[in-house]
């Protein structure tokens, strides 16, 4: 099992977001989280990578608990969050080099040049990221997937702000990754079709709490 989420409970701002949530991601499987805004898609990704601690429940990557992998986990997944974490005053190329360094890969100039061609960013590679449009920034972010060598991809709304051609290319990228034995968990607010994919519909929990109980101190946090 590449990724396992076992009975996760999570509260945020006194609101229950995950109520006994379970998920299992196998090898070469694509899973799409579909849900409206505020359903907790980004929160789920933050919980998986270990930034947020769930109130209850277990998360395992490759059958190891997430708390036990400290520096090792950067070799296990590639997470593209909603905030693109690109530095405005660096060029596209420098941004990618910086990302390769911190994600523990080995630098290779040819690979970067080849990967930039996939989304036709080669002419722009000396341009500062501050001058790019929203879609172009997203393409720079997705170029990281080509350079990544991890088995698990976690993509938070990867199709936001992309044109139709790039969406097709990204889908192809994800399908190829699955063919090579990698697995992908991605989120989207609309339904979309990717070959051999499994869909999970997330909904904001509307538990009727007419009778509010104050039995433990955590209830009034």
């Amino acid at each position: 099992m590449v990724l396992e989420i076992i009975s996760v409970y999570f509260y945020r701002n006194k609101k229950l977001i995950f109520d006994n949530f379970n998920l299992k991601l196998k090898k070469s499987q694509i899973m799409i989280l579909i849900g409206s805004n505020g359903a907790g898609k980004s929160t789920l990704f933050d919980i998986i990578v270990g930034i947020l601690e769930p109130n209850n429940g277990i998360i395992k990557l490759d059958n190891i608990m997430i708390e036990e992998l400290s520096a090792k986990k950067r070799k296990m997944f590639t997470y593209l969050p909603h905030k693109d974490s690109l530095k405005d005053n660096l060029t596209i190329e420098e941004n990618l080099i910086s990302w390769i360094n911190i994600s523990g890969n080995i630098l290779n100039k040819d690979q970067i040049n080849r990967s930039l061609e996939y989304y036709q960013l080669s002419e722009l590679k000396k341009k500062f990221v501050a001058n790019l449009s929203q879609g172009q920034r997203k393409k720079v972010l997705l170029t990281k997937l080509i350079l990544a060598k991890t088995k698990l991809w976690l993509l938070d709304e990867p199709f936001n702000g992309l044109d139709a051609d790039s969406i097709k290319k990204t889908k192809k990228l994800i399908e190829n990754h699955a063919k090579n034995g990698g697995s992908t968990l991605l989120s989207n607010h609309l339904d979309l079709s990717i070959k051999n994919s499994k869909k999970i519909f997330l909904q904001p929990i509307k538990k009727s709490r007419d009778i509010v109980k104050f039995e433990t101190w955590d209830d009034i946090r």
Binding site: R12, D46, V49, G50, I51, L52, L69, S70, A71, K72, K73, R74, Y79, P81, H82, K83, D84, S85, L86, K87, D88, N89, L90, E94, S98, N101, I102, S103, G104
Partner: protein, 222 residues
């Protein structure tokens, strides 16, 4: 296999070099505010009473606090602080690398600025040596405390001045032992050993600031 420290340091420095503009703003803010003090007090009075030390240190504290915002808030706003955290880098190490970079980038060039300041205030050659020593041993703790204060203010949307209220009391020991070394010389005969206390304060500030910044950084993403 490169160590985490090396990776983070090279990242910080490569970003810091691109941000070289910060140094200009820092240095010009420092010089301009010295000018304001000279106009307010009068150049003769400063030279006669030798009150250049408090002026320099107070201005240094404020300018370091204002500059430290650049080193943290950019990373926090574009999500790369979060990226470093989920890639499994140690929070203490991140802040340590940031403070070392800030010290090298911003405060070491200030030593080159000190001769100009000494001309302004007509400081003796002997005194400027002690100014250098105090500078070397007091500024690391200044940098660490200012980074903690800007981490505190990261999530304050409305009122950024709160960071000054929170952290200024902690600068009291540093400012006492840096700005009154002349008076120590007259009464306590501690002129030469004053910097030992500053080193002591630094070794208390270092673990404290690293630990608290780790606690704050865990809170930021919630």
């Amino acid at each position: 296999m490169k160590s985490d420290f090396y990776i983070l340091m090279s990242r910080e420095i490569s970003i810091g070099i691109k941000n070289f503009f910060v140094l200009y703003t820092f240095a010009s803010f420092f010089i301009i505010s010295i000018l304001i003090f000279v106009f307010a007090i009068g150049s003769d009075l400063i030279a006669k009473n030798n009150i250049y030390e408090p002026i320099i240190w107070v201005l240094l504290i404020f300018s370091v606090m204002l500059v430290s915002e650049n080193f943290v808030s950019n990373d926090c706003n574009d999500g790369s602080l979060k990226e470093l955290q989920f890639l499994g880098y140690n929070e203490e190490l991140i802040i340590l690398c940031k403070s070392i970079t800030m010290w090298i980038m911003i405060l070491l060039p200030m030593i080159a600025l000190m001769p100009i300041v000494s001309i302004f205030f007509k400081i003796d050659y002997v005194d400027i040596f002690y100014l250098f020593i105090n500078f070397l041993f007091a500024t690391p703790s200044l940098v660490l405390l200012s980074l903690v204060s800007s981490l505190f203010s990261m999530q304050l949307k409305r009122n950024k001045i709160i960071q000054f209220i929170i952290i200024l009391p902690f600068y009291i020991p540093i400012i006492i032992f840096t700005s009154s070394s002349k008076k120590f010389a007259l009464e306590n005969n501690l002129y030469n050993n004053n910097f030992l206390i500053l080193i002591g304060i630094f070794f208390i500030t270092l673990p404290l600031c690293l630990y608290t910044s780790r606690l704050i950084m865990k809170e930021i993403n919630k």
